[in-house]
Symmetry: C2
Subunit: 264 residues, 2 copies
């Protein structure tokens, strides 16, 4: 379409040339006055704005729906964690979760189909949350293997990670790992990842301190086992469990193993 | 009753004197020949033997019934351990236990009334079994605190205690401890008892070796946590779990803490 303006006059000539499928090489010429032209331009802008606006609103709605779906899932998973902590894995039902979340059981079914799916997603949520905290601590600590190792150990024994309600949920899943291969795989992959990171830190400390006769695999296994065992104490004997004493036990172990890096 | 024998003669005189309620101060005298007397004595022995025999048989039956009841309970608890290990605590039903034991569900109900009772008794059975093994190891080891401590640590990492199926059952209960105060109490009392024994052994080693700056409570907490954490590794990562490496980790920890008692 070509539009030609003639300066110094209120009249303009608009010539539209378009190819018509039925008339090969044919052309159409439209002449209109300035009011018609302004009207056409306005009409063009109004319709375009309207269409664009509608499209934007629609996109926003879709986005909001997606966000709301994600938020709803999180809400249900958080309710599941509460229920598992209070009632245990065997007694928690979808109805309990719905009640805890203040939603209908239909919504729970819509999002998770079954208790098995809900539980597997809850375990994934917990591992993701732990992973985020682990990585944040790892990269947040000074870039020294000894500091990083100690920071990771401390993280495991402090809130929000070492929280009795959450530990109860972890152990509820641990207790089902032999019967439920899905849970075992999720837990094992988490453990393997952290075991490798801990081992690599220990290797760096051993090299740096020129320690002799130390097996990094044994040390990292010991450290992981220590914190896991302390979680169990926190769960079973909350009154006698002592966070400071547990941390002291870790530090004491590190001091006796790497005296140059962790002086007493 | 007074019976008088007259030596040198085949005749005897039996005089029975008894007070008769209706005839105050009255007496009854019975005279019988020797055959009647022998007959009476025989009759007395036969009836007494019969009554005694019947009583003994009855007692035996009661005893057998009690034994059989006890055996039946054990049989059901063993079936429960199998089910919990295979299906987990949440999926195990009384019907599963009955099927595993090859008995009717009515028998399970008769002995335990509910799944809760069956589970609590199964946990008690496990703790009793562990206790027996713990005490046997403790008293069976040479009467030296360092040997006793190491023997107890080794016991925790070797079969029949460190058996994945049994560990799965332990963790199934650990996972329910927050929701089920009964389970928590049983587990906590077990842990407290062993923690005290371990602590007293560590105290003796510290005194004997004149080690300075060592907190026996911290050391015993570390040791318990270590074995608990290793059980979790055995459950979650059976392929990578290494019994020898785990034992090495314990020995290495003991060597670095008490070098005079556990030389490398």
């Amino acid at each position: 379409m070509s539009i030609g303006f003639f300066e110094g006059t209120h009249k303009c000539s608009i010539t539209t040339t378009m190819g018509l499928g039925s008339h090969e090489g044919g052309c159409l010429s439209i002449k209109m006055n300035e009011y018609s032209f302004i009207f056409m331009v306005l009409l063009y802008y109004i319709t375009t704005s309207y269409v664009l606006n509608s499209l934007l609103k629609e996109a926003e709605k879709i986005n909001l729906r997606a966000l709301s779906k994600e938020r709803r899932r999180e809400q249900l998973i958080e309710a599941t964690i509460q229920c598992l902590s209070k009632k245990g894995l065997s007694s928690t039902t979808l109805a309990d979760v719905a009640k805890e979340a203040g939603l209908s059981q239909g919504i729970v079914n819509l999002h998770f189909n079954s208790k098995d799916n809900l539980l597997a997603d809850t375990l994934r949520f917990l591992t993701d949350e732990y992973d985020e905290r682990f990585m944040k601590t790892f990269y947040g600590a000074p870039a020294d293997p000894a500091d990083q190792l100690l920071a990771l150990m401390e993280m495991d024994l402090k809130p929000p990670i070492c929280d009795r309600s959450k530990i109860a949920v972890w152990f509820a899943f641990f207790g089902e790992t032999k019967a439920q291969p899905t849970y075992r795989k999720i837990c094992a992959s988490r453990d393997q990842k952290y075991a490798e990171i801990l081992k690599s830190l220990v290797e760096k400390i051993v090299t740096d301190g020129k320690y002799i006769g130390i097996n990094p695999g044994v040390i990292s296994t010991t450290l992981s086992s220590l914190t896991d065992g302390m979680w169990l104490s926190c769960l079973i004997s909350p009154k006698s469990f002592n966070r400071t004493e547990s941390l002291l036990a870790i530090q004491s172990y590190l001091s006796s193993t790497f005296p140059n890096h962790y002086p007493r």
